[in-house]
């Protein structure tokens, strides 16, 4: 039996660690792991390896390290930057965390939950909920993305405004290092300054420094009452002004502030039978969510008061409040339906940018003008987490045109968007990471000191360079 390019006995040794059920080498079994879900990146690998516990993951890394075999960690394979897809060389193994599925502990008194990397985000949320607690990380892919991927990319989502990114929700990390040694950092302490905070290295490093196998997460008291409203606004400036007012009045009771352009909602309306609220015809819509803990208070009151005040000040055109849980869910479904609608429309050139909120309107106006100059058929489809200064600025084509037209202009579109964003002190990757998609851009635009520090960290933790090569900056 030929065990691979170098016939180095790797597969046989891997099999002895993870068993038959933990090793896939047949082309049809491997295929889904060699391609990202959008179909933008495809690679090759010797095997897909699925350890069931940290000890197996450690043994797998040690075997690969000894042979200098590249290791590509993969969770739910829902990333948007190709970070979990191996390169084309075929030397690598893909290490899937999908069998690391245990919720190890839930402590509702200490407000901590320890889960393995392969747990789906929705499973983690559910385990917290069953204990009467809230794990607030929430994003469209939560039914298929994994906790490990969320942490490796420092995921954001819809509740960052109130609860922070994945980084802020993580108290402890367990990770296997490139040589197979295990960093045991699963602590649930709120304060610990007994040395460098090593877990920070792994969060957001996209599998380039080691494999996260488990994490201890922060839980929260769920709000006693929640409310959702939809506001129509005339301009992005007004949306930003509304954000300021909502922050002022609600403080931490404001748990989401999501922006949607009328173009996004029109696209959604064309595809779905569900009728959108009349408000959706306004140039921009904002979904606001509020939560209160005091059982004597009503979250809807907060949004109502805000809406009244905002109308008086001319900051919104109209606002509707969801009158039932079903209506709340319908408003969220509208917001969360946008990426899918764009995909069904043939896709577009995606950007996940972050900007100072005060610069948002002028940067977007500048980008709009520049895109029209490239091709009047280009249509920016803008939505996202305005409360965090994070917009998904996807460039498609006006209805009736072929989406391929946008893809053909990708380089020019990117140049317009990234020049404007970087000139305004923004980031070209707010929550999607660098992966393969933004690697060259990152290497070209990050200051040399940043790059050399990243290279130094990479060299320190992964001197052989076996962890997820070709991904990220370093």
């Amino acid at each position: 039996m030929n065990d691979g390019p170098a016939d180095d006995g790797l597969l046989e040794r891997l099999r002895s660690v993870v068993g038959e059920e933990g090793l896939r080498t047949q082309a049809q079994d491997l295929a889904p792991a060699l391609r990202d879900w959008r179909g933008r990146f495809t690679g090759a690998a010797r095997a897909l390896v699925l350890p069931v516990d940290t000890a197996q993951a450690s043994a797998v890394l040690a075997l690969c390290h000894a042979r200098r075999i590249p290791v590509v960690p993969q969770g739910g394979n829902t990333g948007l930057a190709g970070g979990a897809t191996p390169d084309a060389q075929g030397r690598a193994i893909v290490l899937s965390t999908r069998r690391l599925r245990r919720i190890r502990a839930v402590d509702p008194h200490d407000d901590t939950l320890t889960a393995e990397a392969g747990c789906l985000l929705a499973e983690v949320q559910q385990a917290a909920r069953e204990a009467g607690r809230l794990f607030p990380l929430s994003l469209a892919a939560e039914g298929s993305c994994t906790l490990g991927g969320n942490l490796a990319t420092n995921a954001g989502g819809t509740q960052v405004l109130r609860y922070g990114n994945a980084r802020e929700l993580t108290l402890g990390i367990e990770a296997v290092l490139p040589d197979g040694s295990v960093f045991e950092g699963l602590r649930g302490l709120r304060k610990d300054n007994s040395g460098y905070d090593l877990k920070q290295l792994f969060i957001g490093s996209e599998g380039t420094l080691g494999v996260i196998t488990a994490a201890t997460l922060r839980l929260f008291t769920p709000p006693a009452d929640q409310a959702v409203a939809l506001a129509g606004v005339a301009s992005l400036e007004q949306a930003v002004a509304l954000l300021g007012q909502a922050r002022e009045r609600l403080g931490p009771a404001l748990t989401a502030f999501e922006l949607m352009s009328s173009d996004c909602l029109a696209l959604l309306a064309r595809q779905t039978s569900s009728r959108l609220p009349p408000l959706a015809a306004h140039p921009w819509c904002v979904l606001l969510e509020a939560g209160v803990h005091n059982p004597e208070a009503r979250a809807a009151d907060l949004l109502e008061q805000l809406g009244t005040e905002a109308l008086e000040r001319g900051r919104i055109l109209d606002m509707v409040l969801a009158r039932s849980l079903a209506e709340q869910e319908a408003l969220w479904a509208m917001r969360e339906g946008i990426p899918g609608a764009q995909a069904r429309a043939g896709g577009n050139v995606k950007h996940d940018v972050s900007l100072p909120v005060t610069a948002m309107a002028s940067v977007l106006a500048r980008i709009g003008t520049a895109l029209r100059a490239i091709d009047p058929c280009l249509q920016p489809l803008v939505f996202g987490h305005l409360g965090d200064g994070n917009l998904h600025l996807n460039v498609g084509v006006v209805p009736g045109q072929d989406a391929a037209r946008a893809f053909a202009l990708e380089a020019q579109i990117n140049a317009v968007v990234f020049d404007a964003v970087l000139a305004s002190g923004g980031s070209f990757s707010a929550e999607h990471g660098v992966g393969q998609l933004r690697r060259e851009l990152a290497r070209r635009t990050l200051p040399p000191v940043h790059r050399s520090l990243m290279a130094a960290v990479k060299q320190a933790l992964d001197p052989l360079g076996i962890m997820n090569p070709g991904k990220g900056v370093a």
Copy 2:
């Protein structure tokens, strides 16, 4: 003129960078910088160097780097672990940030503030306040500690429960690296995943990887109304139960939950003429602070409702609500007067530990028993941030005894405290850092993988080992 041990021209070159006013070499000028404020650590240095801007700091580092001269960064010199005191060799320079004093920018719309490292914490708070915003980091030394020191030690304080540690409040960092190059990372973005999050390296690393020269911080909307209450509880178990109830009912409106033992308060009462509330006679007191944003709500209502419910459930013995701002301040002054009272009583053997809140009561009981077995005159003086699982467990002597008796038993006391804390998954340094004080303990008790990772990071960023040698773990 002899310019130092090696007569290497260093002082002359430093003078040409920072001027006469930026260089102190006379013993009487140097003395305050060579000793920590508690007088537990004393060192020696060739000079005290005070750059006025980042360019000067960079040039100072480059000069030292070329000559392999150790550099000890120092801010307000208020640390509790000797992290800013040079060693006894006298080869080092002390780099004081105290002339890096500019508030560079305050943006109340983006909710960011950029300040230089030598700004006092109180100055940063004030600058935020003047812009109608809140910078919530708050601790007893805020009138003399500096922002740079706060970040270098990842300071905690009294508002962590609601707003997080210094790390969570930091959006961007500017730091001078050991070779003098400048890491320009002053971004105010809430989301940025364009590579490794390098600022995390410098926060909490106690000046061992570089010198923080400025930071961009998160601001918040200040609560529209605040209330403070004092609750008397019979036991630590009850205090923990009250914490759970307060979290449940108040959510993010709970902004502080501070524990004080009756022994701490009795010590304070003996020293001050101010009468303490009768509640202070209960075994434990808890200071609760609540803040609300909704202008229609009253923070006092939240604490009153909580108090009523907690009394009914038998979780507290009594509660008093501050009826005026002056009364609020008096309750806070009581809490903040505790460390000073302990210092005036002759000091004690300090511990800054962090524990899962569920383990708190049993661990403290075990420590109390073990301390009495060492010497019945030992008295644990316990206070601190129960809401974060962080207690200051200071071991003094019962009234009438000489404090020296505790110091003579320091090694035994430490062994009792740290054994119990580490066995329960706690940390021996919650918010005070490692410095010199906990270096040997940290090196002895941290797992080998942690230590080797820390050493690898240190080697990667400071291969010559000139940054604050002998401090921290690595």
